[in-house]
Symmetry: none
Subunit: 253 residues, 2 copies
Amino acid sequence: MTSANDLIALIRFVLVRTSHPGNIGSAARAMRTMGFSRMELVTPARFPSPEAVAMAAGADDVLEAAGLHGGLVDSLAGSNLALGLSARRRGVNLPEISPREAAAQVLAAAARGEQVALVFGNERTGLENEELARCHAMVRIPSVDDFSSLNLSQAVQVMAYELRVALLGEDLPPPPVPQDAEPLADAAQMERFYEHLAQMLDDIDFHKGRAPTTIMLRLRKLFQRAQMDERELRMLHGVFADAQRMAKLARRD
Amino acid sequence: MTSANDLIALIRFVLVRTSHPGNIGSAARAMRTMGFSRMELVTPARFPSPEAVAMAAGADDVLEAAGLHGGLVDSLAGSNLALGLSARRRGVNLPEISPREAAAQVLAAAARGEQVALVFGNERTGLENEELARCHAMVRIPSVDDFSSLNLSQAVQVMAYELRVALLGEDLPPPPVPQDAEPLADAAQMERFYEHLAQMLDDIDFHKGRAPTTIMLRLRKLFQRAQMDERELRMLHGVFADAQRMAKLARRD
């Protein structure tokens, strides 16, 4: 059985000819939040750099382990599948897939034990055609036509996010029960709650001669929807009791 | 037939107490790449700012049209559904949904003609509990536990991306509007509801000297979760008014 970590170890993020070291740092942070750590840099304008460290916001391990390469081919060594992130492009004869499809293909390849590269071009010019020619498919993030350029680290974030969602797949972590969660009220508790609510409405003379049926039905729908826990139920019982106390005092004389 | 643009016009991105103006610019760019343009700012540390313009990379229209607000409630005016982006949190009794689920809920609400807010907290501290108490659900981006903090604009990018993918999907939510559906209460109506609730609790002497803050926070969470419509709100206003009437009678002498 392949674990998520085994798959993750097979996936690298390749940044090609990055101009701004801050973007390398932001990309490292984006990768790290989604559990990825293997970064390969192809002829970055400046690296290492304090700007990269600043923008990594603690993902220093990713930067420190990053490989430095003189060309794209080097950075792809050992990989079986390379996907190039790119805006739509004329004259490139590559299949165009969405980030979600890409994530599925990447995980399928990794599950077969293959190494995979996600390749991101220069901030302004993207990937050159001859760089794309090293890729097996082009991943297009579905931006709008009149404003299509994502920041480099944003593109990394979207791709890393889709990979993480795909990795989490069906085996999503069990529903997050906070340690201090109160148990949800059960059906019997809810029935006692509605009885108390109905009695309180009578006591404060809410119905004024009308039949209470419709009102109680609407209140039931409302409170069922809220899925209250036991603490909330106790709180509302307390409110009802005080309203009843006032009603009783009001009727004293 | 509802067009994508009609839906998009109903969706706002709310940035609360943003420290770095550059992040406001990056968020504007991230929104704009995915076709969104309505940004509301709640007490940003600095705005307008040349750093915001620089990072917007051409999404100046988003910045220029951004609303400035003194508090979260203002920024939510007219909205029927508010989703707060947040890391997992103890003691917050809100449903936790994924960005993908959130996108589906947002589009379903917009398809019913409801206005929707996506709420992003401060870079370092996120959303305060009392800000989350104005939200109907918490959206958690599935980051890894040991490095969970996305940059603000990255969180905006992920959410905007999921919305765009959902918008593009064939599966535009079918209009699930029963003919007799009441409109959901908007943020201003909910605020008036909470004011009335708080006043009623005072009048029936529910607090008995304790500070009302925690109780009100819990009640807010409960009723936000219930996503009440206007008819339900009217009904509860009626109940509160009768409880107050009893309390007044009780104090007659």
